[in-house]
Symmetry: C2
Subunit: 437 residues, 2 copies
């Protein structure tokens, strides 16, 4: 049997769209990895009535576990603990040990950051953060706020007309604090009980580049007829950054059906599939760059390829650096692209892309270099070189430089993002060919 | 009186955390701008029961308008229209005009992208996308899927034990399609009726850099006592990327209270406040760079500053380019940072930061240049130069180069993001001083 969960994200800044929530997706992924079926994520502002309504909704949906994030701070608009306590009919009591621990954390933090604040309001804040609902288990703070795990069912106070609350795990809002607290949260009695008896699920991901969702949908329709046990597979496909991702979730007993489906996809789209084990193009490229030294020469992507490559810890082992040659002057001055080449073919051309990549490799002592030059828009497009057109070059030591031209749809941000992903795939393809030949 | 709305985001890829939802926040911001009070955002997978449950929840919460996003595609897992029709007790009927229009869009798209697909399955998909609930108004597609606006109340079919459904606006999932459709969606009778009679709200934003949330909280506590009408102000504060943002929402009648609050903030934190009209540091920097030419020299930020500067349309007018000098060799070869300087002070030093900025300005013919060199982590930290330490340089033609050293908390991605924002503020500060003196 499947264990169902709901996630409640609190915070007016998230509800109003000013801050992108990272906790809902993160907790959802963790729960899915544990074989839990996440049914609902709800987002509410810092208002107790709206939070209560969402808790009641999830309880009525008979989820086994509710995870809340946020609203655990010392200030008046942090209402989660009091609201959850009221919802579950539990009184709040002061946990003196917790109070001492939080006071100590705050003291050390104030010393380190040389902040002084009114002792009375600090004490009031610490006391507020040390209130625990009766029968609940506090989880040691990873920032200043403790988490709280509350077992299923009402406390002594009860609630007359209420639906019985499921187990509730109350976690802090700062993503880093929440993530650090997660292992201890899973160990609490309330969560262990809620997750007991769940059946095991597997989740597998296939990623492809250069494949349309429509083509994939056609293969899935065919597989529905040919694959025995297809109905046990929960398949979702999505397109992001030009890549198609197909995620399949299934009970362990349906592994044969998944394997048969994966074989159909490999047969039909083997050329486009680049990952069947969850690895990303960034992972594959990092592996392909072992013992190599890469440089970038970016015009329309403006540093996004370099930023993406250096996003990985340890990338300094193979990233030499890059040049953002936004102006033509920069292309000639820093990358030695001949002015005449730009004059003859235009800055957006495969000839210039090749010269940029070769110049970057030379100047940055790299044996692989990638370049982009294109029209990101919204202005600057012409009939021959419309908005969205991007030329790429990949120079690899000892081989002829490879160039490509692509045209991407969408606005400036989309064109830049699609061009960045396309560049990573082009490097991986060229280095892959290198290995094969 | 305030009009309340709820937003339902559909899509298993969003619920499971694989794709970051952009529609919920965007629709929320639009509704807030219209003076609508967004009470709940809910996220569900592609399952009709979960979607029905969320629609019922929002109806029970007495929202005046529900906006749904996603689930309008031609394939079997796109269930929104059928589920909303069932929830509102409305039969689906084929809109023949819409069918012809969508078929035409698909035909032109297939010609352009040279995709061929099975005509029968294409026809079935088009027919599915042309089904409209009785009494609802279709909204012309901006991609292939039409939107749908359904007035409040049940259709002829009704639902026996149901709560009366509010107006429901059904929008497509791709953010660009949704955003393009928004103006037409607001013009539908169902939405106009739902939003009629709302009271006018204003929302104002104050942004500060170098201010802690605790200091701001102290000012707000003081303002609560001194500002007449403070209770009418709905204030949320949040910290992001090192900036503190304070957003206040209030009925027009409380404008005097907001003005008094803004004066308190200006008095207490005038040095840290950099924006009171909603403009971002990117906006301010773009204005400060008019008639200037900027270059970047990035080590630990690896291209993120250049990518951020070139994110703006029209930035080619003042961004010359940049260098990502990830290796020491790149620092010397491309930026002329003397090897001896690196040997004497280390790559992470204000001396090297200054030389990097000056080298970038020289090589890229810029009159402003910014540099970063630091330890992003997780490895590479020492006692003297710990993870999170970043040195900055800003070179402005005709002035001594300014350098700073900061230490940022958090993981690699956080350090890089905080350093990028810090660099933008440092440039703006230095250029601001330039103007003042």
């Amino acid at each position: 049997m499947s264990v169902r969960a709901g996630i409640v994200v609190t915070g007016t800044e998230v509800l109003t769209g000013r801050v992108t929530d990272r906790n809902g997706p993160w907790v959802s992924e963790q729960l899915l990895d544990l074989g839990v079926d996440v049914a609902h994520i709800t987002i509410c502002g810092d208002r107790p009535d709206d939070l209560s309504a969402q808790l009641r909704f999830l309880a009525e949906q008979r989820v086994d576990l509710i995870v809340t994030t946020g609203g655990l701070g010392p200030t008046a608009d942090d209402l989660t603990v009091a609201t959850v306590a009221a919802f579950t009919g539990r009184d709040l009591h002061l946990d003196v040990g917790l109070e001492a621990r939080i006071a100590d954390i705050i003291r050390r933090w104030q010393q380190r950051s040389q902040v002084t604040s009114d002792p009375e309001s600090t004490r009031a804040g610490v006391r507020k953060q040390s209130m625990v609902p009766a029968g609940a288990q506090p989880i040691p703070p990873t920032g200043t706020a403790p988490g709280i795990a509350i077992p299923a069912g009402f406390g002594a106070a009860g609630v007359a007309d209420g639906v019985a609350p499921p187990a509730i795990l109350v976690l802090p809002g700062p993503p880093r604090e929440l993530q650090l607290m997660w292992p201890a949260a899973l160990d609490t009695d309330a969560v262990v009980e809620a997750l007991a008896g769940r059946s095991e699920f597997r989740q597998e991901t296939i990623r492809a580049y250069g494949l349309s969702e429509a083509e994939l949908a056609a293969s899935l329709r065919a597989a529905e007829l040919s694959v025995d046990g297809f109905a046990d597979l929960e398949i979702t496909t999505c397109l992001r950054g030009g890549e198609v991702e197909m995620v399949t979730r299934f009970p362990l007993g349906a592994t044969h059906a998944y394997d048969a489906l994966a074989a159909v996809i490999a047969d039909n789209h083997g050329r486009q599939v680049f990952s069947t084990d969850g690895s990303t193009i960034d992972d594959l490229l990092a592996a392909a760059l072992t013992d190599r030294r890469i440089a970038t020469a970016e015009s329309c992507t403006g540093g996004m390829i370099a930023a993406r490559l250096t996003d990985r810890p340890g990338s300094s082992a193979y990233v030499m650096g890059g040049v953002v040659s936004y102006s033509n002057a920069a292309k000639s001055a820093v990358l030695d692209v001949p002015d005449t080449l730009i004059a003859t073919h235009g800055a957006v051309s495969e000839q210039v892309a090749a010269a940029m990549a070769e110049g970057a490799a030379r100047h940055l002592a790299a044996d692989v270099a990638v370049s982009t030059t294109g029209v990101a828009g919204p202005g600057g497009g012409t009939e021959l070189k419309p908005v969205g057109m991007v030329c790429f070059g990949v120079a690899v030591a000892g081989r002829p430089t490879v160039t490509r031209t692509r045209r991407f749809p969408g606005d400036r941000a989309t064109v830049r993002a699609l061009a960045t992903t396309a560049a990573l795939h082009l490097i991986a393809d060229v280095l892959g060919d290198d290995t094969r030949t």
